[in-house]
Symmetry: C2
Subunit: 324 residues, 2 copies
């Protein structure tokens, strides 16, 4: 975790939004001498920040496209609480496992765990998730809303909505949501969302939203090639993971706040507008068998409503969906 001084220094530059900050402003914020300011700036440079110094007027930081460190991720998060505590790892088994541990240790609302590589990344229903080094955004966000257990699936929709919008804003690509938790572009998967919780029988302690995004992979393992792709392949250029991360936490906080203020209704409308087009024929593979039909929408509990050929509506709690 970042030192208090480092946080204050980054706060000053983050608030300036790329504009010049005078040495005196920094000295005031850190309650230190001008000489100490110079040392702090040198340390930031060593940490990989590109700092422009203008004699007599101050310093400015342009976020480095490449840099993907705890400090840069903190600097990128222009939010009130999501990402204001960030734990970055070069390599972990799974950010979800770390997040579960941090919940036990009392991690605050909005804490983000993020890794450059996962050796045992996991998807929905304990499936493995491919998370190669340096190519994607593998993150887990801890939220502590005061909601009953039954509403927890709604957080999956908030997260997929937020990530879809962040992808659009940063890359210009149009991400669509496939119920319950995947983002697709051009019929290939670019992102999965996994919502887990720790709860008592009566009360939710914490929700952990895992988000895996394929950003800069240029190749996929044989068995994924038809199903998965990356933003870089689709956009034809490298995408800054830092910039995308910064946009994700902003969008996530925006929609989460909307949910806390106004409930699930507005989220549901926005989500449905981004969902893979309704009226299309789908096949839902459930534990009980296959259901074929057209998607009518989602319920307030996040259940998928499918109408079959003879007009019967089915409520689907858990399934794999494919276009039929």
């Amino acid at each position: 975790m970042l030192s208090s001084n480092r946080r204050k220094l980054l706060d000053v530059f983050r608030a300036a939004d790329g504009k010049l900050v005078s040495g005196q402003e920094i000295a005031d914020a850190l309650e230190c001498s001008r000489t100490a300011v110079w040392k702090h700036i040198e340390e930031l440079k060593k940490a990989g920040f590109e700092i422009e110094a203008k004699r007599g007027s101050g310093y400015s930081i342009q976020p480095s496209e490449e840099l993907f460190t705890e400090e840069m991720l903190y600097f990128r998060a222009k939010t009130e609480f999501i990402g204001q505590q960030v734990a970055f790892y070069k390599e972990v088994a799974s950010t979800q496992i770390i997040a579960h541990q941090l919940v036990g240790e009392g991690a605050v609302d909005g804490t983000v765990v993020i890794a450059d590589q996962q050796t045992a990344g996991k998807g929905r229903l304990a499936r493995p998730w491919d998370s190669q080094k340096g190519t994607g955004i593998w993150m887990s966000t801890i939220l502590r809303p005061n909601i009953p257990m039954q509403q927890v699936p709604q957080l999956t929709f908030i997260a997929s909505l937020a990530v879809a919008e962040a992808i659009d804003n940063v890359t210009g690509l149009d991400a669509q949501i496939k119920w319950p938790n995947d983002l697709y572009i051009d019929k290939r998967k670019v992102c999965g969302v996994l919502t887990e919780m720790q709860a008592e029988a009566e009360r939710v302690h914490a929700i952990i939203i895992g988000t895996g995004i394929n950003v800069n992979q240029l190749e996929f393992p044989e068995e994924l090639r038809d199903k998965a792709t990356s933003l870089a392949i689709l956009a034809g250029k490298t995408i800054s993971r830092g910039a995308l991360y910064g946009e994700i936490v902003v969008q996530l906080e925006k929609y989460y706040q909307l949910f806390l203020d106004q409930g699930f209704a507005p989220i549901k409308l926005l989500w449905e507008a981004r969902a893979i087009p309704f009226q299309e024929k789908i096949v839902a593979k459930t534990l009980q068998g296959e259901i074929r039909g057209t998607v009518k929408g989602i319920s307030d509990e996040g259940v998928l409503i499918v109408r079959d050929a003879v007009g019967v509506e089915h409520a689907i709690f858990s399934a794999d969906i494919s276009l039929g």
Copy 2:
């Protein structure tokens, strides 16, 4: 965790149930020489086991009443899976926190975390739980049933039923259950059960049942004196925590297996028979206000049904109950 050899050695004595075991039987089980058997027996003695050796016929172990160690707890657990993996700590913040971490690391069904002292024991709704050194049973049991989230509260009833029966069997005291999670004897609390879970929006990964039992305290802090008591105070003698633990895991496995085989219906009947007498007037303090009436029963979701003075039935999901 115990070494494989130590487990095998304890398995042999556990199966013998206090009867003599020949040196050859031990040598066969551990695939070792008779000289090595002698060394193993010496090590068990050092670990605090009371071993009787009969020249020419073998060894026997009588469980020591006092001994409360990982090895003795393993030796006490005459079960198929609950307690067959046991992690014992002299002191932890909370066994629930450790259990959550072990779930992340893939702990198997039936793993027990147990401590001689908790420095930050927790009760329901994040309330602190007093757990002085060496006086109680503070344990967390990890279960991995394949059930939907809605059924998780049922595990609280299984656990309180099992612990009540174990207390009866070991001490002769008559423990009654107060919805949702407390055991009372003579109108004072002796045990609390806390059911937590890790789950996906669609799927339960693990349920962690925390159980705190006041066994050998002779005094309680001022503020608890009217509300809490211990089995030793009630029985007028020291109770073997090891013996009680051994009975708890047996009863817990029995009722959990009954639940897996036959569902919640038989558990519900047994639970209601042990519940603080129905027809008595109670006050339920909920977040929405107070409800006064008589308890009619529990629903399949673990909801308490209370009928008020004018005959209206209330479904209570979360409340503090007192006799009115």
